[in-house]
Every structure is written in C-alpha cells, then in structure tokens.
Symmetry: C4
C-alpha cells in the first residue's frame, strides 16, 4: 500500500485552474461551503484519495456498506474549471499534514491548477452575530482583490497562524508558484456553523465572479439559530427553576 | 528486521477461500468466536506474523518460555477452506493499522481468499440481555445474505464507523475486489462477553452454512452471568449496609 | 517533498567558520540573543529550511501574507564569518530533532564551519536577579576559554542534560570533529527574558572577541522589569483587597 | 545520519559468546548489576551506539563536556568472553524498541554471541524483604539450568509479559536461534534497588559459573536501607506530631 494513493474515476475533463479546499475544520465552515457548492454546481467526483495518514477507519453508508475514510476531488463541468477537495478527515499526524498537502499540490499542478483557495473557520469562542470573513494570501499581489471581495485582513488574526491543509496549501504553494488564498469564516468554534459558511460563500463567489444559490445554506443557518435559541431558553428555564428551588 | 514479517509453518494446504478475522477488540467478542471455532474445528496454525507495529513485548507461556507478541493464521483442514486471523494485539499506531491490514490482504490474495469476515464487538455502555449482531458489508450485493443469516443492519449503528482491522479489511478489501462482511456482537464494552460471542457465532455459522458446537461458549457465558450476578449482589449488600449505617 | 529541504537565497558569500544557533527554547533566551545580533550586525538571510518535522502551520506576516514556518540561516558579511541559525520552531518529534540537527551539521560542514555555538535558557523556576551564564562544551580543550569569557561550569547543572538542537549540535558535532559550545542564560522559565539574554550576549561577545551594541536588549529588559513589577503590584493590591474583604 | 549507528573503539578482541543486557528499567536493577560487573571484572568499552530512537539529548560529564546519550558495549578481556550492553536510555518509541533490539541481535550474531542474558526489575508495588529473582527463557531446554541457579519460574509472574529490550531480545532471539534468559529482581518499583540487584547478581553468577565480588553492591544496598529507614522515621515523626497537634 502506498502511503498516499489517488484513484481517478475518469480520464477526460479532469483539469481545472482553481482548486477549492474544504476539508473538515473549525465549525465545519469550509466543509459546508465546499459541499454546498459541489451540490449547487452539480460538480462530479473525479478522484478518491486514501492514505495511512487518515484514521484507520471505515464509515457506514446506506445499505450498511462500509467505505474507507478518504478525501475526494470533485470537478465542475462546463466553462468554469473548478476543482473541489473535500473529505472525511485531515491527517492524524503532523508529518502526514505535510505529506498530504504536498501530494495535493502535485496533483493540482498535474491538473493545471494555478490558484488554490482554502476555506476554514476562525474560532473566537463566543457566538457571532455578523461573522466576518478573514483572509490570508500567499503573495501580496493577491491582497487587493481579496479585500475588494469583502474579506478582512487584520494585523492580529489569526494570531497562531493557520494550521493544517488550509495553511500548508498556501505556504507550500508559494514555494511552487501556485497562488493561494485562505478564507476563514468567523465562528464560535463550538457548533457547526452554516451562518458563517454563508458569509464565507458570498466572499468566495465575489472572488470567483460567479453566483451560487444560497437558499439551502440559509435554511440550515436558520435551523441552527432556532436550535441555539431553544437551547438558550431551556437553559434559562432550568436556571429559573433552580433559583425558585433555592429561594 | 522487516516492519512486518510472516513465517509459514508448512508449505502445503495453506490456501483458503474465506478469511475470518478475530483480533482483540471491544468485549473480546471477535477473539472469543474465532478462538472457539479454531478449537472446535481443530484448525491448525499455519503462520505467525511479527511486526514493529505491535507492542514491544513478550508474553510468558508454560515453562516460563517467552514468546514475542504476534498475530497468527490458522487453517481448517478438510473440505471447508477456512482461514482464521487471531492474535495478541492490533497495531499500536494509526499508520500501523493500515500497513498491517494491507499486509493481511496481500497474504489473503496469495492464499486464494475471496471473502473476508471480520468479527468484533459493538459497545453500548450497558449490559445487554439479548445481544443483537450488527453487520456491515463492503458491497451492497452481500447485504441480503447477511441479513438473512440473522444480522441486523441499522441506519445509525455503529455511528462512528468501524475502527481497526475489522473496518480496514472491509474498506481496503473493497478496493481490491475482495468481499468483506463485518459482524459486531452487541456488548456492554466493560467485560469479556461470551454471550455476545455466542450470538455472533450463530449468525456466522448461518453465513458459512456450517455447524459448530457452542457448548463451551455457552458455559463461559453462564459463568460470566454468575460472576456479574455475584458482583451485583455484593454491591447491593454494600449499598444496604451503608444505608443502615447512615440510618 | 523532501523531509527536510534548504533553499539558498544566494550562491556567493555563504561560507562561515562559526555557526551560532538561537532557535526557540526556554525563556526565548537563545532566540533573543541571535536575533539581536542579526539585527545589530546587519546579517543577511542566506537560506530557508522547511521540514515535515516542523508543525504543519503557516504564520501571517504583514499584508496578510502567509509564510510556511521555517528555520533560517543568516550570515554576517565582512571579515567576521558568522552564520546564525534561527527560526519559528524546533522539531515536533524526538526523531525529527536528530534528523534536523544532522542536517544542520551537514550544511555547516559544507559551508566550512569549524565551531558551533548554541544558545539557550536554563530554567530555574524563580525570578533571577543576576542571571549566570552556564556552559557546556563538546571537548575539554574548549573549557578554559569559555570559562575565561565569563561562563560558569557547575557539577550539577543542567542536571537533565541539554535537550533539543542546543544539545544535539554539540553531541553530534563531537562525532564529526566540529567544536561545540553551549551557553545557557539562567532564567525563570516563565517569561521571555531579555535580561538573561543580555548576560548571555556579554559572554558570547567575549568568546567571539567582538562587540555588539546591547542598548535595544537592555531596553527590552527594562520594559520586562517594569511589566513584572506592575504585575507584582497588581497581585499585591488584589491580595490586600481580599484581606480587607475577609477582615 | 543512520537511524541506528555503532562505532567500534577497537578492531581486535571484540568477540563474545554471551551478551548481558542491563539497560535502564524498573528499579534500575539490571543496570546496577551490569555496571557492577563491568567495574568488578574490569570490562572495557568496545563500542558506542547512537540512535534517533533515543531521546534528543546530551548529558554533561566532568569538565562540562556534553556527550550524546547512547548505549554502549563492554567486553571482559581474558578467558571468559562476556559482552555487556548498557546505556543511558531505551527507545522513546514502540517501533524503536523493535529496531534497536533487532540491531543488537545483528551485532551479537556478528560477534559470535550464542546466548543473551537480559536483566531487569519486577515491580511489585511494596518494599520487599527478601527479593526473589524471577526468570523467563526463550527455549524450554534452558529452564532447568536457570531454576537450578536459584531463579524462580512462576505461572503468573510477570503477568503482562516483559516489555522493552529485556523481552524483545528473548523473543526475537528465539526466531534467530540465539538462546535467551531473562532475570528479573523483585523490587518495589519506587526506588533504585541495589538489594534486588544483589540477589539477581548471585543467580547470574551461578548461571555463568563465575564469581564476582559483591561488596560494593552490598554497601549500596545498606546505604539504601538506612535512607529508607530514615524516611520512615521522619514520616512517623511527622505523623505523630500531627496527631499531637490534632489531639
């Protein structure tokens, strides 16, 4: 078994100029955006990636069929040549993160990719009413365009840098001359956050100069709001009861 | 030293069509079933596997003889060509799980195996009166036969997928065209569970269309029941005493 | 991707006879000294090192540009041929420490280095008024010169030896015939410690028979003293208030 | 840098028929015995072993000279061809334990070794008045001789097998046809235990049919007894004081 292996599901129409990474991470923000786009743009799976750096695990799908955890590449057919990198997990080890990101950049180069856009969440530890979209780039010439699309560059955020594929694809991409943009939706970090994903998607669409129907993401954001509201009410009720009891 | 090595103890009659994996895991359910079958079917050890991915340890056997921890392959002589994979430990590392499972599938292919059946426990966190046998397969065409044999496919179980050799042999087997079935006996997860093993064995026998004497397993299950009952009584007595003391 | 890779930023004037290591460590003492010298001596960056043994991370620099974490080599142009090894992180793994240090010694040998001076902190667990500079060497013939420069050799310190690059460059250097000196500024271990760095710099300058303006380091040391003093006063005030409250 | 490397300090008289391993472990029992024998038998260091599987560390020796942590082979000149394997540390990783033990057996085979005797402690969790010496072997034919020398073979001890080099050299040695004996001095596991080492040494001498002056070991054992007695008295005094205070 190779440490990392890729299986292409078709031979033709696999090239792309932009790779959008939405692997699991804080608030699942990047994953939500990438999977939403794959669904709305009717992107098609073109490759599956397996690796000893993923957890040693299968997931159970419908009909009780087990599937090895993986990362997948989707491609948007038609005039826009977008590729999407999504998946179940990132690496379990520090070295694996480097080796997987290096592998992804090899594939990206082979497929003609000239720009990588990585998506993630930026955890702030409290619920956010109007989530900002923070950005980082791997070349200063990309700064203006990304800011114009509505992303925010701040001096101090994210303080600890960017960890995992979202960071490495930018840092290692720069060494190979591949342009890189990282968009991070502000999020509490405690919950899956479709609202933050919605904000991020708007910025991403502006960068890509495309439009994507956001209805489903907005619906999920509203469901989440209701859920949070319900949890709050229950907690408040509990707290009131306790006060009555004590009083 | 190779990272993984196998020593065959004989050259002839080592082929098999079905490999049954019963390595250590939750409630030792898979291990109990595989070892019971090896004993009842008079299967013979045909190979020993050593690896740097096992714990760095020897076990002491009779006469104080130390033996390197290992995994072993047994084979059932005669018309049924069953192979059994059992052993002291699974891998100590995430990467090792992948590399060992890959190695096992290499061996399985060499020996002519077309189907792998992996056995394990499914921990539910409480004592189970009538343990169900959950199942997963690596191809939807296997679903009906396994269900007919008495195994249960549910939408939500096991939620986190299947971890370790029991999962990987299915997931990685699928990529090689080897059929895979995973049977998981419901169990508390706290105790070695021969009752769950007994339930699992019945389903396995139905799948294999064979019969195995289950007397010894039933006896162990009864011993375990008595042990649990005794523990419960003691705990109850303690608890009563404490109440008396307080009262 | 190589496990460790170096990119030289120029081809000429890259040789040096002494390599000064100031990677991150206890109290950031070594890092402070090396970075101060690089600034004061106007040393120029000649190489960048990337490795899968560093954390999988990018840092954000001005204009929101992400940079892969790295180690860097600076060189002091002119008659003194000093090289500096500085960087964001040391290895994340035990094996990585060995492999990186071995790599650094390979580079050092190629560049003509005959002596390595490693800088670090020696954590004592309490604030130190007049920090001593402890030393270790990798050959007894170096002892006298280092002691004469003001460093202290004690029987019992550091008790656990020296961990990481500062230790390995000495130990592994000895096996290759490269002279090695380790200077450790006494420090609490709780705070970044420019005062300890200042003491260490004085000893280092005596060893190198050079002079470096220490004004900026002294200023930072004073700022740190004020900060500590302020923290102490606040703590005392809080403590007094609490006593009042209780009383 | 090789993952494991050995440097021989001389070319002649390096062969041996028996290798005695006394690396660090529980109660330092094995280390105490091996180092005592090296001293008493005037054994000479013939090789140093370095490895990325040891901690990334140097130790400071006299004159402040740093030395890379290592394992060492000593040899007893003269008619008895004994080799000793001692050192600062065992492996930091599970895989490293296997790779180092495999390396040691390669060296042993090259030097003509036909028998390995590994020394260790067996932690029982309480102070032991008359420490037994437990044993394991890697072939049943060795059992009688070892028992006759005074070692004890019990059914249940050590329950978890033997971990690290002491175990692996037996288990892996068996696969190569090298005889292996493991002697384990009973010890609390909390303290360095020269008394247990003394018991172990007596059994080892009987096996080797040799005599070694045990005076120094007995002296250290007595010092340790006094220390323990003193600690006990102090604890008792403290405890009495507290009772007085409460009373």
């Amino acid at each position: 078994m190779d440490d990392i292996s890729i299986d292409f599901l078709r031979d033709e129409n696999i090239n792309g100029t932009t790779l959008i990474e939405g692997l699991p991470g804080i608030g699942q923000v990047g994953k939500l955006v990438a999977e939403h786009m794959i669904h709305e743009m009717d992107a098609e799976k073109i490759a599956e990636i397996h690796s000893i750096y993923f957890p040693p695990q299968v997931l159970i799908e419908k009909d009780g069929v087990a599937r090895l955890v993986n990362n997948e590449i989707y491609r948007c057919d038609g005039e826009r040549e977008l590729l999407f990198l999504v998946g179940d997990y990132q690496s379990t080890s520090s070295e694996g993160h480097y080796l997987l990101s290096s592998f992804y950049l090899d594939i990206a180069e082979e497929l003609g990719v000239r720009r990588v856009i990585t998506l993630g969440g930026y955890g702030v530890g409290h619920l956010v009413d109007k989530p900002r979209v923070l950005a980082a780039v791997n070349h200063s010439r990309l700064h203006a365009g990304v800011a114009q699309a509505g992303a925010v560059f701040t001096q101090d955020e994210p303080g600890g840098g960017i960890i995992g594929a979202s960071g490495l694809l930018l840092g290692m991409g720069a060494l190979r001359g591949i342009e890189g943009i990282c968009l991070m939706g502000e999020t509490s970090g405690y919950l899956v956050d479709p609202k933050s994903a919605h904000s991020l998607l708007e910025v991403l669409c502006a960068i890509l100069q495309t439009e994507v129907d956001t209805t489903r993401l907005l619906e999920r954001a509203e469901e989440m709001e209701h859920l949070v509201e319900k949890l709050r009410t229950t907690e408040q009720a509990k707290s009131d009861e306790e006060l009555n009891y004590i009083g």
